[in-house]
């Protein structure tokens, strides 16, 4: 870190520092304002029924005064966790292939392909899922719209993010490490798993966090393939609803307490993201980022 005493105190430096502070404050304020807005919009129903009922009610039937969000909270967690668990090894290993095993031409073609995959809008994934993937799963086990379909679609969506970030961080591993490993006579796989992976772990971790973020916030694709039934899925083939899909499905038609309750969904989602970021921070403390 820079020591502020060493920095010159010239006028242009002062201007730069203050404008940077201003910009940082602006970025922070946006998050703060969104949080405040969510709280204000959900306040009417929170005051009326109390926060506890959003976790203890028997069901989600806002028009009948039942506001249970827990199945949707779990739904969000299950699809996110499932897709991150599948996409992380796939993404990192495909980056290893791309960076260390593939011939230069194939590697560059493969990278373009991943970039293309990362750029496809989510609604296209959702549409494809609805007309191709869901009928396929339906043949194995009806109704087809299911946790499995959600995990499969999300995996496809976050795989390129994780793979591209992993490939970039592999590329940043100092070449000297690789040369020294070659001098020591290490095999290619030993070099990768004992030297490259540990050296690139902060980048890999960033990729997984970015992927998780995309998975948690995904709405359209999930809404189309998950079935949106508010329940705890008992198997991979059962439908479920996520918090994001809940908001997208009902927002256009909601009024009064119902609308307010949807803002509570947003608030809970924000809480979930905060919890995950805090967890990632705790996990990485002193180990991942040097």
């Amino acid at each position: 870190m820079f020591n502020s005493r060493i920095l010159s105190r010239s006028r242009s430096d002062q201007i730069l520092v203050w404008s940077l502070r201003g910009l940082a404050a602006l970025a922070g304020a946006i998050v703060g304002l969104i949080g405040l807005f969510l709280v204000l919009e959900s306040l009417p129903v929170l005051q009326q029924v109390g926060p506890a009922r959003f976790f203890t009610d028997a069901a989600w039937n806002p028009l009948e005064g039942l506001y249970d969000l827990t199945p949707m909270l779990w739904g969000t967690l299950w699809v996110t966790l499932g897709s991150v668990l599948v996409a992380t090894p796939l993404g990192i290993l495909s980056a290893v292939f791309c960076q260390f095993y593939a011939p230069a031409r194939i590697a560059s073609f493969y990278r373009r392909l991943l970039e293309l995959l990362a750029g496809i809008p989510s609604v296209v994934y959702g549409f494809w899922g609805l007309v191709v993937l869901v009928p396929l799963i339906n043949q194995i086990h009806p109704p087809g719209t299911s946790l499995l379909a959600g995990i499969a679609i999300l995996t496809m969506m976050i795989l390129p993010t994780i793979a591209l970030v992993a490939a970039a961080s592999f590329a940043k591993v100092p070449p000297a490490y690789l040369q020294e490993a070659a001098v020591l006579g290490l095999s290619r796989w030993t070099t990768i798993q004992a030297i490259v992976l540990p050296a690139a772990k902060s980048g890999l971790f960033t990729g997984v966090v970015l992927g998780t973020g995309r998975a948690i916030g995904e709405t359209m694709a999930i809404l189309m393939v998950c079935g949106n039934v508010v329940q705890m899925p008992r198997s991979l083939f059962e439908p479920l609803r996520t918090l994001t899909a809940n908001i997208a499905l009902e927002m256009a038609y909601a009024t009064g307490d119902h609308r307010s309750a949807l803002f509570v969904s947003g608030l809970v989602l924000l809480g979930l993201v905060v919890a995950l970021v805090a967890m990632a921070e705790a996990l990485s403390q002193g180990q991942i980022y040097e």
Binding site: V134, P142, P143, G227, N228, V230, P239, E250, Y253, T255
Partner: protein, 283 residues
């Protein structure tokens, strides 16, 4: 642009301006039928809103001085806004309730809700009781109601949708009683879900379903209460699962309000009504 063209256009434009200023005195402008002006605010049902906004566009073209502002927020918002005078016209996608009878309503189209299954499903008709049993989870297989031996996939609409409200109302159900396997948002999503799943049953707007059947989507409409589901039966008023799409006002409409409502009920908008997959009112 060629110079000669420029040279000929400018005097022409000036001449037109001069002619206009000459012929149109201010008094003539206000008495002219085409000189309606002002702003019209419509709020309410998101089912009616796309239709109203298309009608509004055509109305604006006919009367360049008028702006039609369409906002959504559900039928109940339409009622409240009209009562409070926030909106000039409310949009309500159902018949008025008894406690709303003080308002004036003007139907501009009808919409029917049809039960759909996959085209390969051998079931030709379901009684109301069979439908209720399927939707409440008492019947979970197609075999007892005349289909193949396969589990039924029940497709329901998300809470708050007016189609759901009408469906529940007709079958005297509460949404919490329904045991669905898939919950969907709009009509197209419902049709895609049923088209991709031979065991599925769902309900969607009849206009949208007919449009997709005409485009060879593998679904079919089942009759409800013994009446075939088609735009004809909806238009005749014989199909039971139907609703009017209304414009409502607080007081008997006058001036701009009246002009717009008359226009929205006229034959001139029949094509827009059809394009939006609704059924024009039989005159």
């Amino acid at each position: 642009m060629k110079p000669w063209f420029k040279a000929s256009v400018l005097p022409l434009a000036l001449a037109t301006l001069w002619l206009q200023s000459c012929t149109q005195s201010p008094e003539a402008a206000t008495s002219d039928a085409d000189s309606l002006q002002g702003k019209l605010v419509l709020t309410g049902s998101s089912t009616v809103a796309p239709l109203a906004s298309q009608i509004g566009k055509q109305f604006e073209q006919a009367h360049p001085q008028v702006r039609v502002d369409v906002q959504t927020g559900g039928s109940s918002r339409g009622i409240t806004d009209v009562r409070q005078g926030v909106a000039d016209i409310g949009m309500v996608s159902r018949a008025l309730k008894p406690e709303e009878k003080d308002l004036k309503s003007f139907p501009i189209a009808r919409d029917g809700i049809g039960v759909i299954v996959h085209r390969d499903n051998p079931v030709q008709a379901l009684s109301d009781q069979q439908l209720v049993d399927i939707y409440t989870g008492k019947t979970i297989n197609w075999q007892p109601v005349g289909g193949h031996k396969a589990p039924i996939t029940v497709v329901n609409k998300a809470e708050g949708r007016s189609t759901l409200e009408l469906f529940l109302d007709y079958f005297q159900l509460k949404n919490s009683q329904i045991q669905a396997q898939v919950v969907i948002g709009d009509n197209e999503q419902g049709i895609k879900t049923v088209a991709g799943n031979p065991q599925a049953i769902g309900y969607v707007s009849i206009g949208t379903a007919e449009h997709d059947i005409a485009n060879n989507t593998p679904i079919k409409l089942l009759p409800v209460g013994g009446v075939a589901a088609s735009t004809q039966t909806v238009q005749q008023g014989t199909f039971p699962l139907a609703r009017p799409l209304n414009l409502v006002t607080n007081t008997p409409p006058q001036g701009l309000q009246k002009e717009f409502i008359d226009f929205a009920q006229s034959q001139e908008v029949a094509e827009i009504v059809q394009q939006q997959n609704f059924v024009a009112i039989a005159k």
